[in-house]
């Protein structure tokens, strides 16, 4: 019973982290699906989202607003606006001029952008980590109060619920809306979509904006969950999310969700049963193993090489 409760606890923690990885991974996978480049600066956009949310929360609290839902919604909207604008600007400045060049060129440009944004926030807000106020406390507990209890905090429930809403909205958007349909067309064949009258530049911008908005949601949620932010906070999370995207099959949106969840669970199981220090080793090893045996990821489509 004890062991089972402990296992369930790890599972819940893993799914919480995993669902936020999935939110960030969507940005990687959509961009990769459409223009085939790794958007290295995506982790930084997520970090900027977290900072903006924190600024909004602090500002609203200072103004004397105490109604929690209002604070959260305003912070979320602010974070999404700033992050999406950042996503749009980054694409415009660093990626559009180098689109279609040798594979390495956009990648280097993206790495440069990532370094730039990291230091931009570092200079503006200092390098020390800043505490996120604990807005939501408490949670449900299960099990014998005398020994180990499985607990589900309200934040974890909020993270699940928000992720679920975002994912559903994204799926509907991609499958039903005009822009979503255009996105799918562009990811299948950019040149052809262009010939058929789709403004591909706008669709690519839209992809970056959507990815950045979801990353901002993840920024707010993970900032509250971890309780602090710092300028380097985006890099490792971005790396994990990218791993999740590759794990699930890059270019596939359901794949990103699946990959995020698997990665989150694998990590929390490692910290629960082995040691927290090795969780990154396990997630990267998992990535290498998956790529060795199924190079296109779990849900990716195999690419047929044509001569």
């Amino acid at each position: 019973m004890q062991d089972l409760l402990y296992f369930i606890q790890q599972l819940i923690n893993g799914l919480t982290i995993g669902s936020t990885y999935a939110l960030i991974a969507i940005g990687y996978t959509m961009v990769y699906g459409i223009i085939g480049m790794i958007n290295f600066a995506h982790g930084e956009i997520y970090m900027i989202g977290a900072y903006t949310a924190l600024i909004a929360i602090t500002g609203l609290t200072a103004l004397g607003i105490a109604w929690l839902p209002l604070i959260l919604i305003v912070a979320l909207i602010c974070a999404m606006i700033v992050s999406s604008s950042m996503g749009w600007a980054v694409e415009r400045v660093a990626y559009r001029p180098v689109r279609g060049k040798h594979r390495l060129i956009p990648l280097i440009s993206a790495i440069g952008m990532s370094i730039f944004l990291q230091n931009y926030v570092h200079l503006a807000q200092g390098s020390r980590n800043i505490g996120f106020p604990a807005l939501i406390e408490g949670g449900f507990r299960f099990g014998d109060p005398d020994s180990f209890q499985t607990s589900v905090s309200y934040i974890q429930i909020l993270i699940f619920a928000t992720t679920l809403v975002c994912m559903t909205a994204l799926s509907l958007f991609i499958s039903r809306s005009r822009i979503g349909r255009a996105c799918r067309a562009v990811s299948q064949d950019l040149g052809m979509a262009n010939l058929l009258g789709i403004d591909t530049n706008r669709i690519i911008s839209a992809t970056f904006v959507i990815g950045a908005a979801l990353a901002a949601v993840a920024g707010l949620l993970l900032g509250m969950y971890y309780g602090s932010v710092d300028p380097l906070f985006g890099f490792i999370a971005g790396l994990k999310a990218f791993t999740a995207a590759v794990l699930g099959g890059i270019g596939s949106i359901p794949g990103a969700m699946l990959g995020g969840l698997i990665l989150g669970v694998a990590e929390s199981m490692t910290s629960g049963y082995l040691s927290g220090e090795y969780k990154d080793v396990v997630s990267f090893s998992l990535l290498i193993l998956i790529l060795l045996f199924k190079p296109t990821g779990l849900l990716g489509k195999p690419e047929v090489e044509k001569i």
């Binding site: 370094i115 730039f116 290498i288």
Partner: protein
């Protein structure tokens, strides 16, 4: 068109405000356990608005501005010259290289100690960049975890000197070979992967090595690193004031000169110089050998090369292993130069910098890579006053370089055979 320009300019200006004002205009300050928000000083706020105004004006008059730029005479007067014939170019290049080498040989005896130390670092980066140039520039394999092999070389020396008492000269081949072995073992399974997957796997591998070094505290000292790495000796002569190991003599006593701390720095610099030259020569040779041609062929067209009988795995693996070998080389020199290493020296940023050197120099071009290594290492040191803004400028420079000159400073030019004009044609 004008209406579109106006709308676009307004939109761009608003986006500029949105991405800069919240982050720059409000500062989060921790006060005790709580966080308070402080408005930035007026200077920053005005700066943000001026930036938005500049973006607005630029976008509004973009067309005429670009036309004006086009009318300006070319900034680079060399750009319009016809390319030099190959023979002449090779001659100019070899003369330049010889001059550089002579200057490099005399440099330490004229410069200050700090400058020589920096020059040693430049040489280490040259070795690293030349090695990565084989992997990325010639073979076209995107390696984002190159720093892992550098770490293997450095830690091999550090650990072996700590536990076995190995000397620099023995550690040099050992570290390089061990790094090459790591490259071989990692490369064997992953080289089947396509470009971007390879990039992410190597990135993951680099992180794994760093985390392991950080956490295997009882072996590697964890984040505290390993210190007391011995300096290289010259035929059993040590460069310290006192001889540490039995059987060795000290340099200044043998030659009967006064002890000076500079001797050691200069000696290390000369070792690094010789090793960098050896690296450059070996790779130059390899580039012209069948294996070098095979790297490029596979990079250009994998299917065609395979159908002509090249073994994909063998060719890629050779490039990967040779790249790793030279990283191990550089790592050993680095460990010896610092005397102390910790996982902090082997972060992803380091891989990104080496990759940036290769791309800035012009992928595949040795001359370009060497110049880029010098520039990338020295420029941040010169900009010490702006040290806060150093990495910010570095990131921006990477982006701008890719936008304006993606082929690098000196793009690689393939050696080709020129037909000499026949007598009758003249």
């Amino acid at each position: 068109m004008a209406a579109y320009n106006f709308k676009h300019a307004l939109f761009s200006a608003i986006v500029t405000l949105i991405i800069s004002y919240p982050i720059l205009g409000f500062n989060l300050v921790s006060e005790g356990s709580s966080v308070v928000l402080k408005g930035a000083d007026a200077f920053t706020v005005v700066g943000v608005f001026i930036a938005a105004l500049v973006v607005f004006m630029f976008q509004l008059f973009r067309d005429s501005f670009m036309a004006m730029l086009g009318r300006l005479p070319a900034l680079n007067p060399l750009a319009n010259l016809p390319p030099m014939p190959q023979k002449k170019r090779l001659k100019v290049e070899s003369i330049l290289l010889t001059l550089m080498l002579i200057a490099a040989l005399f440099w330490p005896f004229m410069a200050s100690r700090g400058a020589v130390d920096l020059a040693t670092l430049v040489l280490i980066y040259i070795m690293l960049a030349l090695g990565l140039n084989v992997v990325v520039g010639l073979a076209g394999l995107l390696d984002l975890g190159y720093v892992a092999f550098y770490a293997v070389g450095a830690y091999t020396f550090a650990l072996l000197s700590q536990y076995v008492g190995i000397s620099f000269w023995l550690a040099l081949p050992t570290g390089a070979l061990l790094a090459a072995l790591f490259g071989l073992v990692l490369g064997f399974p992953v080289l089947r992967l396509r470009g971007d997957y390879l990039a992410i796997v190597t990135l993951g591998f680099g992180e794994i090595i760093r985390i392991l070094l950080n956490n295997m505290t009882n072996l590697t000292g964890g984040p505290n690193g390993i210190g007391g790495i011995p300096d290289p000796t010259l035929f059993g002569m040590e460069f310290g004031r006192r001889v540490k190991e039995e059987g060795n003599t000290s340099f200044h006593e043998t030659f009967g000169i006064a002890y000076a701390g500079e001797h050691k720095v200069i000696f290390l610099y000369l070792i690094a110089l010789v090793l960098a030259v050896i690296t450059a020569l070996i790779i130059r040779r390899l580039m012209r050998m069948p294996v070098g041609r095979a790297w490029e062929a596979l990079r250009e067209d994998e299917i065609a090369s395979r159908s002509l009988g090249l073994s994909r795995t063998a060719v890629k693996l050779s490039a990967f292993t040779i790249g790793a070998f030279f990283a191990g080389f550089a790592g050993t020199v680095f460990a010896s130069k610092q005397g102390f290493i910790s996982p902090e020296s082997f972060v992803f940023l380091e891989s990104a910098i080496i990759l940036a050197i290769v791309v800035l120099g012009g992928m595949g071009s040795q001359m370009g890579v060497i110049l880029a290594a010098i520039a990338v290492t020295i420029l941040p040191e010169l900009a010490r006053e702006f040290s806060e803004y150093r990495m910010l400028i570095f990131g921006a420079a990477m982006v701008l370089m890719m936008v304006w000159r993606p082929q690098g400073l000196l793009p690689m030019r393939r050696i080709h055979i020129e037909l000499s004009p026949q007598r009758g044609d003249r």
